[in-house]
Amino acid sequence: MNACDLIVVGAGIVGASCADEAAAAGLRVAIVEPGTIGGGATACAMGHLVAMDDDPAELALARLSLDRWEAFADLPEAEFDRCGTLWVAENPAQAAGIAARVARIQAAGGHAHALDAAQLREIEPSLAPDLCAGMLVPQEAVVYPPRVAQHLVLRACARGAVLHHGRRVRQLDTHGVTLDDGTVLHGPVLVATGCALPQLVPELPLRPRKGHLVITDRYPGKLRHQVLELGYADSAHGSDGSSVAFNVQPRPTGQLLVGSSREFDIDDPAVSPSMLARMLQRAFRFMPSLGELQAIRAWTGFRPATPDGRPYLGAVPGRDGLWVAAGHEGLGVTTAPGSAQLLLDLILGRTPAIDPAPYAPSRVLA
């Protein structure tokens, strides 16, 4: 009899975090992962730990998570690099909005301050000279997500979790799950399968949102901060068919990771030359010298997007013993620790660390 206190389906950064959190709480945990651990959206992500402040609920989850990420700052596998986030304005309207954004981040317990054009040029000389202002969030960092997911799974296993690697959930049962090799696991189920959520929980709407990234050869010192355009949220949280936004990250190796693009309703994972070109042209507008750097690799990934941009965290209505942690879109790495904490608060009946209502799956089924 394979009796569990929690069966975590999916070992991306979110599932791995939930499994780790549950094992740390003393639960008997099973983890089911058909592919590479951290091999889905986790492997394609930039690994930027960033608080987006345009939605108070997202900001609360991000703040909770960022505090918890501090525990990984010295973990070699995390490759944690506190480069800070630099938001840049390309016009006076964006610059005028900076004060309010600083205030929102400060109110949520973060640190941020505004920069004028001269200060911007001083800290990042390679940015376009016409950028008129910026906002620096110095505490934010970048990590290497796939190895963090592997670390979390190993840590959960060290605390007794059982990993069913290479196995797929054939079906959800009233008692738990049946795996593709016939193994039956009994217990509550947490589905953390990202873009694959509809296979097991079709009633929760979710769409894959394709993105492209390019990485360059090594150029140490070329850029010090992760730099995004202030209009990034319009691209990230808009629901346009396709959009691009400037987002470039210095890796600890000196490589630059250049994004970002968003496309709905495309299931072909191939790199789209035209979307790549459009994304890069946007990047050159903010950092003209990027054009001369050597790209060594480009790839794509799919972000699991919900209709309102917030993840599903909580019980699935009408399904006994079924929980979900999925739909984080582009913020799964940032918000994985907070998502795990909130889920375990709910599962164990603890007082939730933050208000769970904005993430309740029931919101889309009403």
Binding site: T36, R147, V271, G291, A295, I296, R297
Partner: protein, 428 residues
């Protein structure tokens, strides 16, 4: 800039030169591209001191006025049959009716102790450097590895003043003798072998002998050789080492062509007229599997005829092709690698030199993808071309090279130069 042509031939080695010539002979508008500044590919590479081989000169001159030659055009991306090439002057897009892939092969390197020391080079790599003027006069060079190309490399090195202290062929003397005994079936090759023997008079040629380690602090000082008599140290300034060739299939994969993965290394799959699984895309030469110069020239002609819709002319060459392809089997049989070569890399030996990944880092990785994600193996500038082939030989993972743009490191500006075609907007 966009250029249009009936046939684009990628690679200006023997296969590509023949393909361009054949296609142009039917009146097709042909563009021949190569990443190098001159025609010839690897085997016919121009030599700054000794010029271009006569056969290569003839093949190049035959194109004069008939084919548009685009030097220093590295194809880095493709969208259908629109190819994006990087040049010193920026990006060029080529819209081709048909494509001939003549991308040749690269050397197979196997990791061993200190194989990343400066002074250790590919046999073909050092040969290419010599032809480009790298000073080797008076340098002691040990040539090792496997296959007939070692002789060609040694001859070039010697011609440039290097002291070739020995050629060490891993295959046994019996196998090499059996190979030589079959060469009469390919008279041109027998003639070439005899010429190389003369050029290498006095240079020791040892069979059943391989390099098991290199030594030196910051620069190669010597190598440890192993043969039937045991191990011994030999001092040298350079080690030129290669274990044969691996087909360059990455462009074909990017274009969507099916690959034959039945062997250790993938090769492009093509039908009897050298059409790949993608209509309008042909392949010729080493990309179809290693068979040498003569096969490459015939296949180049076949693919060129076929790409110009001259099917009969292509078909007429099929028997000659089959004869030359038989040589590939002979090579593979007689120069099969000694299994001990696959055990030279120890836990600490670097296998991915772009990212400094030791072999031991791959112990928990079941496949290429996890090796990339967990250990960063194959994530550097070469995109796994070197370590991927080596790890396939070592029996770790299948060789799964790049198939996404950029195929080679390219300026971001090049990748941004593709014409922007808006994706269809989605109705809300």
């Amino acid at each position: 800039m966009i250029e249009r042509c009936d046939v684009a031939v990628i690679g200006a080695g023997p296969a590509g030169l023949a393909a361009a010539h054949a296609a142009a002979s039917h009146g097709a508008r042909v563009i021949l591209l190569d990443a190098q500044p001159r025609h010839g590919g690897q085997i016919w590479r121009h030599d700054v001191a000794h010029g271009t081989p006569p056969a290569a000169q003839a093949a190049i001159q035959a194109l004069s006025g008939k084919v548009e030659w685009r030097a220093q055009h590295q194809v880095v991306a493709a969208d259908g049959r629109r190819l994006l090439a990087e040049t010193p002057d920026g990006a060029v897009e080529i819209d081709a009716g048909h494509v001939v892939i003549a991308t040749g092969a690269r050397e197979l390197q196997l990791p061993f102790l200190n194989w990343t020391l400066p002074g250790v080079a590919g046999a073909g790599g050092l040969q290419a450097l010599a032809k480009q003027g790298w000073p080797l006069a008076g340098k002691r060079v040990l040539v090792a590895g496997s296959g007939p190309l070692l002789l060609a490399a040694a001859a070039t090195l010697r011609k440039h003043g290097a002291m070739v202290v020995g050629i060490h062929e891993q295959a046994s003397a019996a196998r090499v003798a059996a190979f030589a005994a079959q060469l009469w079936r390919w008279p041109a090759r027998a003639w070439q072998a005899a010429r190389l023997r003369v050029a290498l008079a006095g240079v020791p040629y040892r069979c059943g002998s391989f390099v098991q380690a290199a030594s030196g602090d910051t620069q190669l000082r010597g190598v440890e050789l192993r043969d039937a008599d045991g191990t011994r140290q030999v001092e040298c300034d350079y080690l030129a080492i290669g274990y044969g060739l691996v087909p360059n299939v990455e462009l074909a994969a990017l274009l969507g062509c099916a690959l034959d993965r039945s062997g250790t290394h993938a090769r492009v799959h093509a039908d009897d007229l050298l059409c790949t699984s993608v209509p309008g895309v042909y392949a010729a030469g080493e990309a179809l599997g290693i068979a040498g110069l003569a096969a490459a020239r015939i296949e180049g002609s076949m693919a060129g005829h076929a790409a110009a819709d001259a099917v009969d002319a292509a078909r007429a060459l099929a028997p000659a092709r089959i004869r030359e392809r038989a040589f590939a089997g002979l090579l593979a049989r007689h120069f099969a690698l000694d299994p001990r070569l696959r055990t030279l890399a120890t836990a600490d030996t670097v296998v991915c030199r772009c990212e400094d990944v030791p072999l031991s880092a791959l112990d928990d990785c079941p496949d290429t993808r996890s090796a990339r994600l967990a250990a960063r193996c194959g994530m550097g500038a070469c995109q796994g071309r070197i370590c991927g082939a080596a790890l396939a030989e070592l029996g770790r993972f299948p060789n799964d090279g790049p198939r996404r743009p950029p195929l080679f490191p390219a300026r971001l500006a090049t990748l941004a130069a593709l014409p922007f075609r808006p994706t269809t907007e989605i109705e809300p």
